[in-house]
């Protein structure tokens, strides 16, 4: 299910009279259990590609498949279901729900999935312990540091064991210690749980964790090689 297949993806944006190319005939295949980094300068198309794979944005043309599912042809409701069941997101700016505690944020996706309360509380506490936030379950996001918030976001992304985690500059707002810790966690999850990771970054330290590095520029893939 987690195998991603993108074929001839194109996406343009309008900025005033100017047309900006987000994706330009992108072809890519990602197998289940891969740990992939998308690198490139700002505006190279990394985030656009992540958004398209995650069903947050629709390409102008081309096709995206996740297993047998044509993501680019799903309606809003089906896309929401697809994200809920198969994809975990980690964003640069943490993006936690401010009115919920750390544990409630982690439980949120499971709650929407319909997981019973006892089970999701058990899973949420376990995953928070795994990301080093034991004892901070009841804190609201405003009471956590940037690194702690990002770990809550990671816990939320992986708690329901998605097939795919899409992370967009996950270490951009973290110090080097927190970044190392987070990437170590990603590697471990990838190895132990066979979760596919696709991480957009221009941080060299992050790239060093990847087993496959895809470089992009001006919406095109300029290199794609294992490392």
């Amino acid at each position: 299910m987690s195998a991603i297949h993108c074929h001839q993806l194109c996406k343009t944006f309008r900025q005033g009279d100017e047309v900006i190319t987000g994706l330009d005939q992108v072809d890519i295949d990602i197998d289940a259990g891969e740990f992939v980094c998308l690198s490139g300068p700002s505006g190279s198309g990394k985030t656009t590609l992540l958004n398209a794979i995650g069903g947050l944005d629709t390409p102008d043309s081309g096709e995206i498949r996740m297993g047998d599912m044509r993501i680019d042809q799903l309606d809003r409701g089906a896309l929401a279901d697809m994200r809920l069941r198969h994809i975990g997101f980690v964003f640069q700016a943490y993006n936690l729900i401010p009115v919920l505690s750390a544990q409630e944020n982690v439980e949120f996706v499971m709650q929407v999935q319909g997981v019973p309360a006892v089970e999701r509380a058990r899973k949420a506490r376990a995953i928070l312990e795994e990301v080093g936030l034991d004892g901070m379950e009841d804190r609201r996001p405003a009471q956590l540091s940037g690194g702690q918030q990002q770990r809550v976001a990671v816990a939320r992304a992986i708690v329901s064991q998605p097939d795919l985690v899409l992370a967009d500059e996950p270490t951009a707002n973290l110090d080097s210690v927190s970044s190392e810790h987070l990437m170590g966690l990603f590697s471990e999850l990838n190895r132990h749980h066979r979760i596919t990771f696709v991480i957009a970054t221009h941080d060299k330290r992050v790239m060093s964790y990847a087993r496959r590095l895809i470089k992009m520029r001006d919406g095109k893939i300029i290199s794609d090689a294992p490392q």
Partner: protein, 413 residues
């Protein structure tokens, strides 16, 4: 069902906490909803009380909630259009437990003459002990006394009529009318009581005499003009009405108050319509604040809405979450508004003195005491209108939230 409960728990948690993330705005909106609901219910209770009083007065002037009379009597209230006093099946129906009061009456046109003046009047032969429940006139006697028995020889007239006749308490006047054979029947009566009318235009020319005395004067022993019935609530007389209709003898006609005075009956419907319009007008004023609050609330958390979309919340659930937030706000406002209305109306139900505007109220057929009437029906109406229109008002901001582009929403600063 379990999944629905889980969804509901998620939505409820989010809605409740979102509601209180801006305390000041929520409290201001709650204040507006509470005061609006209070105003709807309080003013409706005042209006309902005024209309009830007007209806009560109107029914007392008929008089009675149900009347039994000759079929021609309402069109031609002459002495020939009479009916026998109740007996047999009708008497049994009238004496069944549950009916508050019934009485027989004579009502004929007459002329009253004092030493100086004469006037056309309506001569009423009544059973004095029933009159407090039928018209309430005995309570309004300001000089002398009301009639004491069915054979009393005195009469009771209105103060203004006494003034016009240039007569006073204790003086003798002559009353003239016709018997069924068109012979003039006349007799001298002493004025034993003077009352003050609440409705000058209607009651001023009513002259009260004892029933037996008038039967003898008009030579209609054993016969009366009307049998009038009064129960506790004029709105709930249908069963009684049907029972009396079945028992009434041939040659008589039974009519309910709303058939006798259709204007009075239309006032109830008019009042219901007026209450609805009033409630909607107040709500329209409220709705701007409510819509603004929700729009601001959505605008403030565009990024968060983008996030929950990205995490897989379906558009329908996002709409439900915003609507639930609005519903919670409305429900809290309604509870406070209803409580406020209850605690402000209840103490006034014993009567609110509005004698400063008594003359104007009298022209409308209402008294100088206003008795606010808090009815469950009106409270339910106000609450239902606020809930339904409130949720409708919230649909647009909720729909806009659900239609946000998640990528743009997530990049909103």
């Amino acid at each position: 069902m379990t999944v629905f409960k889980l969804y509901f728990a998620t939505l409820l948690t989010l809605s409740w906490r979102n509601l209180w993330r801006n305390h000041r705005r929520t409290l201001i909106m709650l204040g507006a909803i509470s005061i609006g609901v209070w105003a709807m219910i309080f003013m409706t209770a005042l209006m309902r009380g005024m209309v009830d009083d007007m209806l009560d007065q109107g029914i007392r002037n008929l008089p009675g909630q149900i009347q039994i009379q000759h079929p021609e009597f309402l069109d031609d209230p002459s002495v020939v259009n009479n009916i026998p006093e109740p007996q047999g099946e009708l008497l049994a129906a009238l004496n069944q437990p549950g009916l508050k009061r019934w009485a027989t009456r004579i009502k004929v046109p007459a002329v009253i003459a004092s030493e100086r003046e004469s006037r056309g009047v309506t001569l009423l032969g009544v059973e004095p002990d029933a009159e407090p429940d039928i018209t309430g006139i005995p309570a309004r006697v300001i000089e002398g006394r009301f009639l004491q028995s069915n054979q009393d020889d005195g009469i009771v007239i209105d103060a203004k009529l006494a003034e016009r006749l240039e007569t006073r308490l204790g003086k003798r006047v002559v009353l003239m009318s016709q018997d069924p054979e068109n012979n003039i029947s006349e007799r001298g009566f002493r004025i034993v009581g003077i009352y003050r009318t609440r409705l000058p235009g209607v009651e001023q020319f009513d002259v009260y005499a004892a029933k037996d005395t008038l039967q003898e004067l008009l030579r209609i022993e054993g016969r009366v003009s009307q049998i009038v019935l009064v129960d506790d609530d004029y709105r709930e007389i249908e069963n009684l009405y049907q029972r009396i209709r079945q028992a009434a003898p041939a040659g008589s006609e039974v009519k309910a108050w709303y058939e006798i005075d259709t204007y009075l009956a239309s006032m109830i419907n008019m009042m219901d319509g007026f209450v609805l319009v009033w409630v909607i007008i107040i709500f329209l004023a409220l709705s701007f604040g409510l819509a603004n609050t929700l729009v601001m609330s959505v605008f403030e958390r565009v990024r968060e809405i983008g996030l929950i979309q990205a995490l897989g919340m379906r558009p329908g659930l996002i709409v439900s979450q915003i609507l639930l937030e609005s519903l919670l706000l409305l429900l809290i406002g309604l509870v406070i508004g209803n409580l406020l209305a209850y605690i402000t109306v209840k103490p006034l139900e014993s009567g609110l003195d509005i004698s400063v505007v008594a003359e104007g109220m009298a022209m409308m057929g209402a008294s100088s005491m206003l008795y606010p009437n808090l009815t469950l029906h009106d409270m339910v109406l106000a609450n239902t209108v606020v809930i339904i229109l409130g949720v409708l008002t919230s649909i647009l901001p909720a729909w806009r939230a659900a239609r946000l582009d998640p990528v743009r929403a997530l990049n909103t600063i």
